[in-house]
Amino acid sequence: MGVFLQYTVIGLTVGSFYALVALGYTIVYGIIRLINFAQGDLSMVGAFLGWTLLVSFGFEHLPIYIALVIAFVIPMIGTAVINIGILQFAYKPLLRRSLLAILITALGMSLLLQNASELIWGPAIQAYPPNLLPLSGFFVGPVHVTYVQIALVIASLLLMGGLVAFIQGTTMGTAMRALAVDHDAARLMGINVDAVIRIAFVLGAMLAAASGVMLGIYYVQIQFTMGFLLGLRAFTAAVLGGIGNIPGAMAGGLLIGLLEAYTTGYLSGTWEDVVVFGVLITVLIVKPTGLFGERVAERM
């Protein structure tokens, strides 16, 4: 039982990272029906930007709170700019063309981010400062919980809360929800569709970057290839929760995190991806609308 709970703690921590990336998928898909393959790679770029600031620029030696704020905020802004660039340059001209064309382009952007990052930061594994946050923790019964885990989960929850508040509480959020239902009607109501799409890409990139930095802090090691699997798991989470469904993406992320932790713990790490893909394929075949129902309809 103790072991099980321990895995649960790990799963929830990792799951909260997945949830953040999954939210990016879900927001963008909800609005323009595009699987932004680059989502996981944006997370990787965020992780590397954070690493550059902390290690290369030496911000890790600043007081911890200032260092953390810098390490989160600047990568979030940086990846948002990159994602807007991708949108304007690559996706925008294709939005009226076939789904196939835009999917292939999205795949190309993912590949581009990966290999450009390899060129910039090198193929080697880089390490986050290991002692950024206190490594110690405490026991709750038999379960060991670290302060890092608590801090990261709280940070994820804050980001998710902020996102929900934005979407439910602001005019822009309302416009996003309207657009998810009907583009033309939204446009006729005077909503600036392009602006809303841009906001969706900004939000998606910011969440991805934040999760990338968190992964760096949690696992310490980062590499330019990390975005591929991260993206796939997060996409699985988004589909599991029902694509376009924001609470669904959060729940899906946590579920995938748990699944991964249990598989690694009880089975073996080599099967972890097979299990995740198995879940993805099963969900898509058996219940393509996800566990909690999707919020979008396919365009005919």
Binding site: A101, L103, I104, G108, L111, L112, N115, L280, I285
Partner: protein, 617 residues
């Protein structure tokens, strides 16, 4: 000269070109150049297979490397464990991957296309990981010491030998792919890519065709995999990564999706360029990524685009005898119906021409959320009549059509056609049973010529098998010619023979509607459902339409019509049903409908514009 070359059969052109390339490389190239050429041939084979899936059928497959892997492992295991020769393993490698394609495709091809891309990606990775964990196949070390192919005692071992084998396999793969593309299957794929819903509704079995593309793609991949295994002599899971799937995708995007010479060119670039630019080898993926995005944005048709030769309608057909077309069609149609009846009775059903009632709708209810679009509607359509359904917008008329044609499954109720239930059948099966339809909003295949649109309508009546299409057998050629001939007859039946070669979208609105009618008729239905055929037509065109509808009835085909134009409905119909808010409020002869208080009230109550029309007509 060039013209003469283009007129020779495709297979002879492929053989000439590949033989020239082969001779040039083998006699002039050193070992290094030849080995690069072998790799180009391998990628070209992979590209040909993926091209069937992506280029022809329009399905994005991101796990294509899995088929390559399965082919390679099948062949390698048979050679090392069972000591078969390479050529003996080939059919099995191809068969195995084809089966794998069917097993994967069957449950997943119903998915929308973007999900399918992700599922295939997952399948590709799972396959690789499975081989990685599978001890019998060597686990991460893979299979070593795969023997060289032995050809009647002669061991093929030099790069030149492999290149010749590779070219032969490539030639076969190319010729078969070309034949498929130019058969009814190719036409079906183009239709599905254009508008899957319309294709299914006029009789194209879309799921089966997509599955077929998948299986074919898998088989080509398996062929390439087997060739790869014997050529390298050792395989391991790292040869079959996601990266390979992406590279093959780049081959076809670069060359031009759907284009066979494009695939060769794409393979040459993807394999050759990193060899030429050795010093940038580390950045080759970055380069390809830029190329991929750049191509999609600037030249989506590829470097060597698929040539859509201006379609020559009725090319190679003999002039028909100056017999009256209508009489000829009538004869053909009756023969068709007799033939279908024979099959019908042979299958143990009641003879279909018996009985007065052709279509029986009984207590049909369809509900969307809280809205009852069709509420407990019952009526019978008699054989040979023109039956109209009228009523205000939102009355449930099109929903009823969708229930009859298998697009939707009604919540409750029975629909009997020819005495047999059609509820729960897929739309293309309903077409094969003998119900044709047109659409409220025109749904022609935009990338096809008019006569090709009608040929798609003939899809359910093809009698040839896939292997015949692949080999382009005389039987298949005859079948195609017959299809062409019939499409011409149906076009002349609706008066559009002279526009046969135009693209469907170039036609006027009224003419597009007529093409839809010809496409529906081409399947030789017993019953046609026309959804607002007169919408957007001027009075002259409406008159012509009325003439066509009567002509159709004279062929013995029963017509059910949804129409808002009251003068047309009143003049052409034998009986009229009125649907209001999903409820059948009247069913009678035109004259009686005009006097029916319930109908008048239904229109009066809403102060509908159509009221005037009802009384005027």
């Amino acid at each position: 000269m060039r013209d003469r070359f283009n007129r020779t059969p495709f297979w002879s052109r492929v053989i000439v070109v590949l033989a020239l390339i082969g001779a040039t490389v083998v006699f002039n190239g050193d070992d290094y150049v030849t080995s690069v050429a072998v790799s180009v041939a391998t990628y070209a084979m992979l590209g040909l297979g993926l091209n069937i899936v992506v280029g022809y059928a329009g399905l994005l497959d991101l796990g294509y490397a899995a088929f390559f892997a399965i082919g390679a492992y099948t062949s390698a295991l048979l050679m090392t464990q069972a000591h078969w020769t390479f050529f003996a393993t080939l059919p099995f490698a191809v068969l195995f991957t084809g089966t794998a394609g069917a097993i994967l495709g069957y449950p997943t091809l119903r998915l929308r296309s973007d999900y399918l891309a992700i599922v295939t990606l997952g399948f590709g990775e799972m396959t690789r990981i499975t081989f990685n964990n599978w001890e019998y196949a060597g686990g991460p070390n893979g299979i070593l010491n795969i023997p060289w192919p032995n050809f009647f005692g002669y061991e093929l071992s030099t790069q030149a030998d492999f290149f010749v084998v590779g070219l032969v396999l490539l030639a076969i793969a190319m010729i078969f792919a070309h034949h498929l593309d130019h058969s009814r299957l190719g036409r079906g794929w183009v239709a599905i890519k254009d508008d899957e819903f319309a294709a299914e509704s006029v009789g194209v079995p879309s799921l089966r065709l997509k599955l077929l593309a998948y299986v074919m793609g898998g088989m080509w991949g398996g062929l390439a995999g087997a060739f790869f295994a014997t050529r390298i002599g050792a395989i391991d899971p790292t040869s079959f990564t996601f990266q390979l799937s992406v590279l093959v995708l780049i081959v076809i995007v670069l060359g031009g999706t759907g284009s066979l010479p494009g695939v060769l060119l794409g393979a040459l670039v993807v394999v050759g360029l990193p060899e030429v630019l050795r010093q940038f080898a580390d950045q080759r993926l970055l380069f390809f990524a830029v190329l991929l995005v750049g191509m999609m944005l600037l030249r989506p048709q590829g470097l060597w685009p698929r040539i859509r030769r201006k379609p020559k309608p009725f090319y190679g057909l003999q002039e028909e005898e100056p017999e009256d077309v209508a009489a000829r069609i009538l004869r053909e149609h009756q023969a068709q119906i007799v033939e279908r009846d024979l099959r019908h009775t042979a299958a143990g059903h009641k003879s279909s021409s018996a009985g007065d009632v052709l279509l029986e709708v009984h207590g049909v209810t369809q509900q969307f959320g809280g809205l009852r679009a069709v509420d407990n509607v019952s009526f019978q359509v008699r054989r040979g009549e023109i039956f109209s359904i009228i009523g205000p917008n939102g009355g449930g008329k099109t929903t009823l059509f969708n229930c009859i044609t298998g697009v939707q499954r009604p919540r409750r109720g029975r629909i009997l056609f020819d005495g047999r239930s059609v509820v729960g059948l897929r739309p293309h099966v309903v077409v094969a049973r003998g119900i044709g339809r047109t659409f409220q909003g025109i749904r022609l295949f935009k990338n096809m010529a008019v006569f090709e649109n009608v040929m798609v309508g003939l899809y359910p009546r093809h009698r040839t098998m896939t292997w015949q299409a692949m080999l382009h057998t005389p039987g298949e050629r005859k079948d195609e010619l017959r299809t062409l001939q019939e499409s011409r007859r149906w076009l002349s039946f609706v008066g559009l023979e002279s526009l046969a070669g135009r693209l469907a979208t170039e036609l006027s609105y009224a003419d597009q509607r007529r093409v839809e009618i010809a496409r529906a008729l081409a399947a030789h239905p017993h019953l046609v459902l026309f959804d607002e055929p007169a919408a957007g037509m001027n009075p002259t065109e409406k008159l012509e339409l009325m003439g066509i509808i009567r002509k159709i009835r004279d062929l013995g085909i029963t017509v059910v019509l949804i129409e808002h134009d009251m003068s047309l409905v009143m003049r052409v119909s034998d009986r009229i049903a009125v649907l209001d808010h999903g409820v059948l409020i009247a069913l009678d002869k035109p004259a009686a409908i005009q006097q029916n208080p319930a109908v008048i009230e239904a229109y009066l109550g809403r102060e509908d514009d159509e009221l005037g029309a009802v009384q005027e007509a």
